[in-house]
Amino acid sequence: MTGKLRRLLLARRGGRSWHWTDVASYAYLALGVLLMFGPVLWLALSSFKTPAALLEFPPSLLPMAQSEVSVPGYPQPLPLFRVTMEDGSVRELAQVRRVGILAQMVDPKTPSQTIRVPTDRRTPVRHMALAVENYTDPLTQFDFLRFLRNSLVVTVVATIITLLINSMAAYALSVYEFRGKKLAMLGVIGTLMIPITIILAPVYLVVTKLGFVDSLWAVILPGAATPTGVFLLRQYMLTIPRDLIEAARMDKASEWRIYARIVMPLSMPALAVLAIFSVMWRWNEFLWPLAVLTKTEVHTLPIALNAFQGELQTQWHYLLAMTVVTLLPVALVFAFLQRFITSGIANTGMK
């Protein structure tokens, strides 16, 4: 029986026995899980802690708060401690005040009698408490919903524009032969690696001249024509059999109809990959919005977060909660489309 169980637990693909490299591999992967998931998990746990719990050192793993009791005769609820008495018995007492290394305590059942206890004889009584107000307060106190909405608008509108104009350009560059095609391709490839960071000021000038400063269009439009997107879609469209396009031409379809009714539906997998990436680029975009969105009411989530961490140095509880909110949509998208995203990246080599 035990032999069978052992064989079941230790069985490996191909029926071979364990080798030290297998052990090392799984150890490496386990460490990886800890290192990759751990920090995010820690963030999520911390985001539910009260400001007091966040200041604790060493910090507790789970969001804990000290239990309190209302004791007759005391206007405020008193913190509860577990105290080891001199006779070795353990009692739960509420602390009235602390003087040096001595604490004045009362038994909640007999509030009239105070007991003096050395502070090293007591440990706080704690229970798990989720500080949900970390999430709800920012919604009411700061314009958090507005930042969320701004991020959503930027993400959705920019992705739609990107998909449309990138696919049109990719269609032109994959299906047709025309004068200037090489030059257009060169333009696309040449800008693949020019990050907006190095042309920040001039793009700012252009956006100013177009009157977009401090409007969401300033973030949506400049990044809409992505060379990566054109490149990815073109590579995919090249695999669509030319016969289909010629058949459509024989079927009296206009070039626009061939694009919209034949090439676009057939490019759906590549379009989906680009859509997912565009969503992530836009949702996470930082430097450009930071430069161009100076007014608070047009801030997107990452910018708002950055501003918070500057302004509210001590208010980690809000910051952590909002970081979780920013992270959540991406985590959800990834959870559902994981296989699709990773294979998309492996096939296209883009990020």
């Binding site: 059999p241 016969d243 010629e246 058949a247 459509a248 024989m250 009296k252 379809a253």
Partner: protein, 351 residues
């Protein structure tokens, strides 16, 4: 339905000439087959007619109207592609109605046309399926159906049967012949399979190296090939080609090469024999027998001679066989490869 006129069609790809001057008229309602070895330009010629390729020189008329510069979508022709080029994301019904939608035809009319074509092609049960869910033969019929619903001026077929297995190919060939009899449209059909050409065509156009070698009805080409190329290309097994000296009392004047089809070589008594051959291989097909033999010429390899006999044969490898060439079926070719004919008009093909 319409006639077609090609005058001086030339097509160059860079410095390579693919079509070197094609003149051809096709009458209304005719079934014309372009046949030739791969690379002879037959597919290019079809695509030129379709408008999918531009010409380097020459002009194309459909029903007397000049269409050389007209786009494929405006020529009113329908094409069945070798790959079928079915739109994979559309159902059979959508595939067949796509062209009609492009032409702006009313919905009711589209449906009735599609259903009529589907009945004709036994596709009624498959109208809601996608191409991926169809067998090879069914896909092929959809491709034909897509052309039929259009009621085009001319049907173009680009090796439509080459992706089918042998049995289906024979069946579909018969259906195509029946279809032509039924709807009577002008059809231009490209194939490298001479059996398809022989069985389907009203007229065959034999192409080689970008030129027309001969135009004529199937039997005309079989019985009176204009040159060595056509003689060798049409007929299976191939026509035997012999040097003139091999045959006794040959008086063919300028002839440099003699040709005789396998069925016109007869085993005979030794006294009547033109030559004696050694049997190398016997192919028994039951109803007929092919003897692959060689005549002793003194060299290391004998001169190959293929013989077709009716019925079955008792001959085996190594047997010696006296044979006679039927004088009335001898083809004579001069040193340049052209047929020597009493009638010089027939002998000269436009090349």
């Amino acid at each position: 339905m319409a006639g077609l006129e090609l005058r001086g069609i030339r097509k160059d790809y860079g410095s390579t000439a693919v079509l070197k001057g094609i003149d051809l008229s096709i009458a209304d309602g005719e079934f014309v087959v372009f046949v030739g070895p791969s690379g002879c330009g037959k597919s290019t010629l079809l695509r030129v007619i379709a408008g999918l390729e531009t010409v380097t020189a020459g002009d194309i008329r459909i029903d007397g109207a000049e269409v050389t510069q007209t786009a494929a979508s405006d020529r009113g022709l329908a094409m069945v592609f070798q790959s079928y080029a079915l739109y994979p994301h559309m159902t059979v019904h959508q595939n067949m109605s796509f062209a009609l939608e492009n032409m702006g035809i009313a919905k009711a009319e589209i449906s009735s046309r599609v259903e009529r074509a589907a009945r004709m092609l036994r596709l009624t049960d498959y109208l809601q399926r996608r191409p991926a869910a169809l067998s090879g033969g069914q896909r092929q019929r959809v491709a034909i159906g897509r052309a039929i619903v259009r009621d085009p001026k001319i049907f173009l077929f680009d090796e439509p049967l080459s992706n089918l297995d042998a049995e289906l190919r024979v069946a579909t060939r018969k259906e195509l012949a029946a279809l032509h009899a039924e709807i009577g449209g002008t059809m231009i059909y490209v194939t490298h399979d001479q059996v398809e050409a022989m069985t389907l065509a009203d007229r065959i156009v034999v192409l080689n190296g970008g030129r027309i070698e001969q135009i004529g009805s199937p039997l005309e080409l079989y019985n009176r090939p204009a040159n060595l190329f056509v003689a060798g290309f049409i007929g299976s097994p191939r026509m035997n080609l012999l040097p003139t000296e091999l045959v006794r009392e040959e008086t063919a004047g300028p002839a440099a090469t003699l040709g005789i089809r396998p069925e016109h070589v007869e085993p005979c008594a030794e006294v009547d024999a033109d030559l004696t051959v050694r049997v190398d291989l016997v192919e028994q097909l039951g109803g007929e027998t092919f003897l692959y033999t060689s005549a002793d010429t003194g060299g290391p390899n004998g001169l190959p001679l293929t013989i077709r006999c009716d019925g079955q044969s008792r001959l085996t490898r190594g047997d010696l066989l006296p044979v006679r060439l039927r004088r009335d079926h001898l083809h004579r070719f001069d040193a340049t490869g052209l047929a020597c004919r009493p009638d010089p008009i027939l002998a000269r093909s436009p090349s």
